[in-house]
Amino acid sequence: MNTPISVVLDNASEESDSQQRQRCVDGLSALLPAGLMLSSAEELKPYESDGLTAFRKTPLLVVLPETIEQVSAILKWAKTNQVPVVARGAGTGLSGGALPHEQGILLGMAKFTRILELNPEHGYARVQPGVRNLAISDAARPHGLYYAPDPSSQIACTIGGNVAENSGGVHCLKYGLTVHNVLEITVVTIDGEILKIGSSGQDCAGYDLLALMHGSEGMLAVTVEVLVKLLPEPPCTRLLMASFASVEDAGNAVGEVIAAGIIPAGLELMDSPAIVAAEAFAQCGYPTDAAALLLCELDGLEEEVTEQIENASNVFTRCNASKLHIAANEHERLLLWKGRKSAFPAVGRLAPDYYCIDGTIPRSQLSHVLKQMAIWSDEYKLPIANVFHAGDGNLHPLILFDSNIPGELQRTEELGSKILLLCVEVGGTVTGEHGVGVEKINEMCVQFDQDALLQFHAVKAAFDPQTLLNPGKAVPTLQRCAEFGAMHVHHGELPFPELERF
């Protein structure tokens, strides 16, 4: 009985959408050369979501500028005409940060794909925002250099998106996040002004806007150029794998190795369900009888790595490791990593659906959090597999469920909520690396109180008082405080299934 009403409403809004669309096309056509705009339904379709495909929206139109001046003209026009703008890189993000706005322009930076300058002598690369993360390291490698942050989607994700999300990777315990490896960015403000932030030196005058821009999810300005630092490739890299009969022992070993003064380049923990799934998927040689597994990578000068491998082995033995194994060669090292990197799709084969959670906790709370999760897992009768960036406390519990069983999705969401709440409770955060986007916007209400959220809005207003840049993302309004969310993967269909997910 309600159907006719909603049809009428839909038609009304559709009509107004097409009028709005035409207004944008007309306005921007006067400013831009032909061929930079997409506005037909089939052209807009590929842009309706990013890596978080559970959320989809169709933008009014997609604009694909080719120059900084065009970006400036588009933003200036958008401001004058009060049209929202959502910037998008490769669209690999997992939190819906690049989800389009239905009354807005989707600003695709895909044509900014040039490495403008690579200077091996001074150790930097000046790149356009659409350059892929891995393409920088590929270009630097002949000079013995590389760009350190290595998010799992690095073959596809772009540096502009990395800045927007402050992307990490498995090596960030030792080499830092994007914010630690970018020297300077050029941005365009919503006023269309072009501004350099940071410098070619080690710091700059005024406030540290470079830090503020990192992880700001396209809410403050649009990044149009990035100057990244290149590091020398370590002469020697080796991987040590340790098996444990209990997760507590493995968690304890992580703390002990750090207490011994060793900072591994990567330190990853998997629990039994994750080990079994990864081994079945990748046949990489994991001990499927272990309750927990640590992958500990060490790099540096050869003498140093040899010594540290020995020290770390002693620590693990002392912490009741049941088995130690050092990758015999580069082939085996990469194979052992492959198992870890395919943990998500591997777990995806165990059940029709899974939820991925991205909380971070202080490492000392690992045992407590894992025990509590095991209790809840029994209580809810929903299995949980855990992969953990143990070095920096970033936990990815994967809750297995079947959305075809009535009520199970709801119970999974409830369990996910409990786990995230626990992360915050023990001093952690609701998102370690995937970003807030639209996905975790409600959880922000739990992590931050009203005054902190208001301060975030005030910061936003300093850059974009009309909230035209990526409106509705990252920071919730005070009215919006509801339940938690999490990444929902149906039948193992990961967005971008070809990409490794850590």
């Binding site: 001074h122 250099l145 630690h180 952690g428 931050f448």
Partner: protein, 365 residues
Amino acid sequence: MNTNDDTAALQQAVQQACDTSSAINIQGGGSKSFLGKGGAVSTVSTLNHTGIVNYEPTELVVSVRAGTLLSDLTKELAANGQLLPFEPPQHDGATIGGVLACGLSGPTRPFTGSARDYVLGVRMINGQAQHLRFGGDVMKNVAGYDVSRLQIGAYGSLGLLLDASMKVLPVPQYELTLVSTRASTDDYSYIGGLARRALPVTAAAMQGNIQYIRLSGTEIAVKSAAKQLEGDIDSDANAFWPGLRDQSLEFFNTSKTLWRISVAEYAPVLPLSGDWLYDWSGAQRWLCSDEAPEAIFAAAAAVGGHATRYGTDDTALRFQPLTGTAQRLQKRLRDSFDADRLFNPGQFHPEFDSDQEQKQEKTSS
């Protein structure tokens, strides 16, 4: 170490400043008066807000109250074989709040990172006397804007820092200094390339034509690296680094004006008269000079850098003046935290506060 939570009193002090629209200077140990002070009549001290809130060595994280003496914190970390990786200057009486507000990092900065790189979270009070918490005690955290790191080097102009959480690292097992003589006093090209060598270099400087390189790490790595680098091992030279870090070397004892000039390490020799000391592989250049501030700011800007004047004279410009969009935007950012200019008015980039001064003058006249 004294432990006292003075949050309530500090918040009350800011609330009162708020209610009476009277500005305050935030002060810790007062050890960095050579970096200026605010133009307010009254001062709020953080010295009673002290102690370590949370320290779990295996987490590599310490949370500490702003008024804690840097020397106390350093001692506590050292007792657990750890340190603040950005090697902050240990000026006499310095507090951790002051070090972070001034964003100061030592000789290791180009190799292991800066103060802001190691900050994970802060608790602070903004210009509306609101008690705010940003970031946390964990290394990876992308929830909300990175307001924590924004506080570092903001000279208290965005708020009063209550506590900060920082990442800490193990004290290197072994350290040595290599000393050599370069052909000329301007030849800093060798230290400029060290960050591209996969070696455990943690500091590189040149005073006159004497070049200093510090190596830190495992004994085996440091000794191996020393063989691959220019210079002779000189154990007397180990004392050079604290002197450089704290600006207590004889070089800094000058009748001229001391400037810190921050540029790319590969920036050319700047056309300014005076005595130079190159730290940070050439990216941080200390200059004792009688040149006019305008000339120094212009020379730094010409190569994409910036200059800061050290010294207690508060009448002349201290920070590289910002202009155009950068100035407008940063001024609005200051507005968003401290619209009424309660904190340290006129100290950090007075151009952010100029309208307010005019407004106040108008009201009083």
